[in-house]
Every structure is written in structure tokens, then in C-alpha cells.
């Protein structure tokens, strides 16, 4: 199996999962990842068709993810609403919005749009390069810089971060914005880099896969990336195996990483890896 092909298959999920790692490390669980990816995919195609440039498309998709993140941040951080509820609402919003706009703009025929893809040199395009750079960079930033330490503190023990003079609210804004922006880019790459088109609900659960991968990769960027590669490999394998008929139950193979992720969680419990304050809202004393 060609490594670049696997990388390309894995890239959307890997990008989203990498962003989500940063978000979860800051203490926010971004269930709305799926919707942000979908919005990224749609607006990327829309902008590409309007301007004729896939670069403008990538930009538009990323901005769509960022915009939805700002909405999530307003609700989760500002209003301290429940993160799961807000995330699910964002997903519904994105599915509905992209589906309706898609049909309104491109007719009800459901025809596959074809858009110019991102140019690449022997299979390696700038987004893949960015991904390969982002993995060690995120790892280094989270683990070796004071900013990363503060972000992690806001996810582990927000009171300590606050006592050290950091604003948990701001750190969580940052975490959410990073995860949503990465999801937007991931979606844009899915439509422009991998599929070369848009279809209704085309992310088909990839946002949730990314959330699962963060767990599978134990909240560590390199492991999350390797987990995404594994999923990408299985994803590409699926098509090869489908050609062979039902000799190999590939669905069971695809289910395997999720079972392993669960098993890892069962083994480790809540003790190791997971940010202690993940998913809880934080209210400053006297605030």
C-alpha cells in the first residue's frame, strides 16, 4: 500500500483529531466536530466553484470551521452551556444548512459536483505537508512550552491555571478555536483533496471518528496521528477488500479500532491520559 495514498485518506480525520486533541487538552469536548468538518467541506467547494481557485476554497472551508467554533465558544465558554448539547446542536445546524444550501444552489438532482483539486507534486500537496509539520509542532507546543502547559492546566485543573494568572476562559476559547479551525480545514481537504466533490452529509461520521481517535491516541499528538493513519489504512483497505467480495468481513476490521479504543479506556479508567476536567464548565470564583 502506497504510504502517500494512506496519508491522503487519513489526512481529514488526522487534521480534525489533531485539533480536537488541543481542544480536549484545554478541557472542552467538541462534539460539534462533525458539523464543522461538513461546513468546511461545503464552503470549500462553494468558494472553489465561485472563484475557480481551490486555494480560496481551502481558505473558505477553514473560515467556516472557525466561524462555527466562535458560535460554540460563545455557548460553551461564555454561557457555560453544556458542551455535549451545544456540540450536537452545531452538528444539526451544519447538516441542515449545508444540505439545504447545496440543494438550493446545485439543484435537487443530487449530481456530483466536480471541482478542481488542490495541485500536488507527486502526491504530496501543501495540506499534507502542513499535517506532517503540525504533528511534531503540536506535540512540542503542548508538552514543551509555557503556553501549552497553561492550556493543559486548564483541562486538568482549571483552578490551578487561574491561580497561576491564566484566564481559563481564554485558554478554552483558544482550544475550541484551534479544534474548529482544524476541523474546517479537514473538511475542506476532504472535499477538495480527497473526494474532488461535495455530497450531502459527505463527512459521514468522520468528525466522530476524530473524537474517538483522540481517545485511542491517549491525547498525545503523535499517537493520535498514528491512530488516524491506521484508520486511513483500513479505510483504503475497505475498497480493495470490497472488490474481493465478502471473503474478509471488513466491517469487523473497521470496528476493531473502536473496540480497541474502548478496551484501552477500560484498562486505564479515568486515571491516565484523559484531561481531568474534560467536558466540565468552569466558573471563576467570584465571577
Amino acid at each position: 500500500m502506497d504510504f502517500l495514498l494512506v496519508l491522503q485518506f487519513a489526512a481529514p480525520v488526522a487534521l480534525a483529531a489533531l485539533g480536537e486533541t488541543v481542544g480536549q487538552r484545554s478541557g472542552v469536548l467538541n462534539i460539534g466536530l462533525e458539523g464543522k468538518m461538513l461546513a468546511g467541506a461545503f464552503f470549500a467547494v462553494l468558494a472553489t466553484l465561485t472563484t475557480g481557485s481551490p486555494w480560496a476554497g481551502l481558505m473558505a472551508g477553514t473560515v467556516a470551521g472557525t466561524a462555527l467554533s466562535a458560535l460554540s465558544a460563545l455557548f460553551c465558554v461564555r454561557l457555560r452551556a453544556d458542551q455535549v448539547v451545544v456540540g450536537l446542536a452545531v452538528n444539526l445546524l451544519a447538516i441542515g444548512l449545508t444540505g439545504t444550501l447545496y440543494r438550493a444552489r446545485f439543484g435537487q438532482s443530487g449530481e456530483l459536483l466536480s471541482v478542481p483539486r488542490i495541485p500536488s507534486i507527486s502526491g504530496l500537496d501543501p495540506v499534507l505537508v502542513l499535517l506532517l509539520v503540525a504533528v511534531p509542532a503540536t506535540w512540542w507546543w503542548l508538552g514543551r512550552t509555557s503556553g501549552g502547559l497553561a492550556l493543559r492546566a486548564s483541562g486538568e485543573y482549571p483552578m490551578a491555571a487561574e491561580a497561576a494568572g491564566f484566564s481559563v476562559e481564554r485558554l478554552r476559547y483558544l482550544g475550541l478555536m484551534v479544534s474548529g479551525t482544524a476541523a474546517g480545514l479537514a473538511g475542506a481537504y476532504l472535499s477538495l483533496g480527497v473526494a474532488g466533490s461535495f455530497a450531502e452529509n459527505m463527512t459521514a461520521g468522520r468528525g466522530f471518528v476524530a473524537i474517538a481517535l483522540v481517545t485511542f491516541g491517549r491525547w498525545s499528538p503523535p499517537w493520535v496521528f498514528f491512530a488516524a493513519l491506521l484508520i486511513g489504512y483500513l479505510d483504503s483497505l475497505q475498497y480493495t477488500l470490497q472488490g474481493l467480495g465478502n471473503a474478509v468481513p471488513f466491517q469487523l476490521l473497521v470496528a476493531l479500532p473502536y473496540v480497541v479504543a474502548l478496551a484501552v479506556l477500560v484498562g486505564a479508567g479515568r486515571s491516565r491520559g484523559a484531561p481531568a476536567a474534560l467536558g466540565t464548565s468552569y466558573r471563576r470564583e467570584g465571577g
Partner: protein, 342 residues
Amino acid sequence: VKIRLAQVLGVAIGLIAVLAMTLAVFGLPIWSSMALLAEGAFGDRFGVARTLVKATPLALVALGLSIAWRARMFNIGGEGQFIAGGLCGATFAKFMEGLPPVWLGAGVLSACLTGGALYGGLAGWLYVRRGVDVVISTILLNFVALQLLGWAVAGPLRAKPDGLPLTGPLPQGAMLPRLDPQSDLHVGIICAAAAAVVVYLFLFRTVGGYRMRLVGEAPKAARLAGVAAGRSQIAAMLASGGLCGLAAAIEYLGLAGQLGTSFAQGWGFLGIPVALIGFLHPLVVPLSALYFGALFAGSENLARFTPAGTTIVFVVQGVAVLALVAARSLTRKGRAGIKEPA
């Protein structure tokens, strides 16, 4: 938490307003679009049947999720529990083919319920015993169930070795009785109504239900009162999954008659906003389910005349949930920022 009539009315008016706004944002004429929606949902007996048939799984899933969320178990695995239920039902049907049809139907129903309950209970058990977050575990379990379904209908449960990936159809006698021989309307809607009453009585009139709500609303008080939180939480997840399994049984025995890869149709996910907008209250949830059932039914009619379709319902759901969350956050200022069931 007592739900006042004024709150329900407020949400009802809000939902209409959100619908009107959504239509306006997409540039659709508000009145004629609403008329198309109403016609599709209530225009004739077939419209009413479509509305009720769609409201049924929404209501059952949402009732189940309400129980779990009230015990502070953020179950988003309705989809997985729905599928697990359907799979158990189909397995029963495959191996008990020889049973008289009525018994076959009853057996499939119990198998679906049990399968859903166990799948939900598994997530509950993992949380209580191993500290695995319910949100994460139910997401993972959704994937596992979906892949298992794909494997089962293509492999061991497939009706014909070279046919489509579908299970064998159930005999007509095993299916749920129809209320109207000409439309799809079946007795499932009565099951859903009965389930709402049962869940209401359980949550608000029994000690077990009280414990679940206490664990969810005031975990500290529950601990001080000596309530075994873990047992209540596992029980809540069992009940939650069981109702999702029941929803699957009713889809299976009422409409589909067989399982394919797209058996769940997203009911498990779509039930979540229905539950939230229904205040997680078993007597309000059915109203919420009816509203969205009508919207889904009506949107099929809307789709015939305008570019908008079912997707517009998702927008209404998303906006309505956000609006409700915002309203609640703004009226709750000053209280400690603890995570509330809704």
C-alpha cells in the same frame, strides 16, 4: 423540576418562530411553505399517518434518552442501542423461524428490547465500574454497532447468499397490526404513548425514579442520603437503551420487516434534540416528537415544490436547541456553574 404550562407554550411558540425564521433565511415564502408543510403533515389521512409513524421512534428514543440524561448519563448512543436492538431481533427471527408468527413477533420485540438495554447498560457499567466517560463510550459503541450491522446483514443474517445485504422479511403475521389498512399507521404510536405514561410514573412516582433524578440533579445530596449512585446510573442506562431497542422493534415490526445497512436512519441521533426540547420530561417529550414528526412528514411535501427538504428540519432542531440552551443559561445566572442534565 416542575415544568410549567407557560414554559411549554413558550417553547411551542418559539418553535414556530424558529421555523418561520429558518424558512425566511433560506429565502422561502413563509406562509406558502408553512401551508405546504401543514398539508404534508396533516392534509389527509396519509399525512397524519406519516406524521405519527415518524413521531413514534422519535418519541421512544427521546423518552429513553431523557431517563439517562436525567441521571446525568449523557447517553448519545441512541443510534447504537437502536441498532443493537434491531440486530438481536433479527438474530432471534433467523433462528426461531419456525415459531408461529405471533410468537415470532413477540419474541423479536423482546429480543430488540433486551439487546438495546444491554448495549446501553454496557456503557453504564463501563462508566460506573471503570470510569469510562459515557459520551466517549457511546460514540465508540455507535461505530461498533454500525459496523456489526453492516457485517451481519452482509454475512450471517443475509437472506440470500448472492442477494442484497438484507435480512429475510418477517412473515406478515409477525408484524404489528395496522390501525389503518390503507396507510402505514400501526399500533406503534399507542406503544409510544403508553411508554410515555410508564416513564412518567416511574420517574416521578417511584423511589427508583426519584433516586435517578436525585443522582442527576444533586449528586452530593444523593451521596449523603446513601443512594447507590452507580446502581441508579446503570439502571438508567439499561432503561434508556431498552427504550431505544423498543423503538427499533417498532420500526422493524411496524414498517421495515427486515434489516438493511441503513436500518437506523438516524433516529437515535434525531431523538436527542427531541428530548432536549421536550425538557427531558416524559409528558412533554411526546409533544416535541409530534412536532418534529410532523415537520419531517411535512418536509417531504415541501421538497416536492421547493429546493428545501428534510434538511430544513435539522436547522430548526439545531437553532431551537441553541435558543433553549441560551435562554436557560441567561435565566440561571448567579447559580454555581455545575453541569446540569439539560
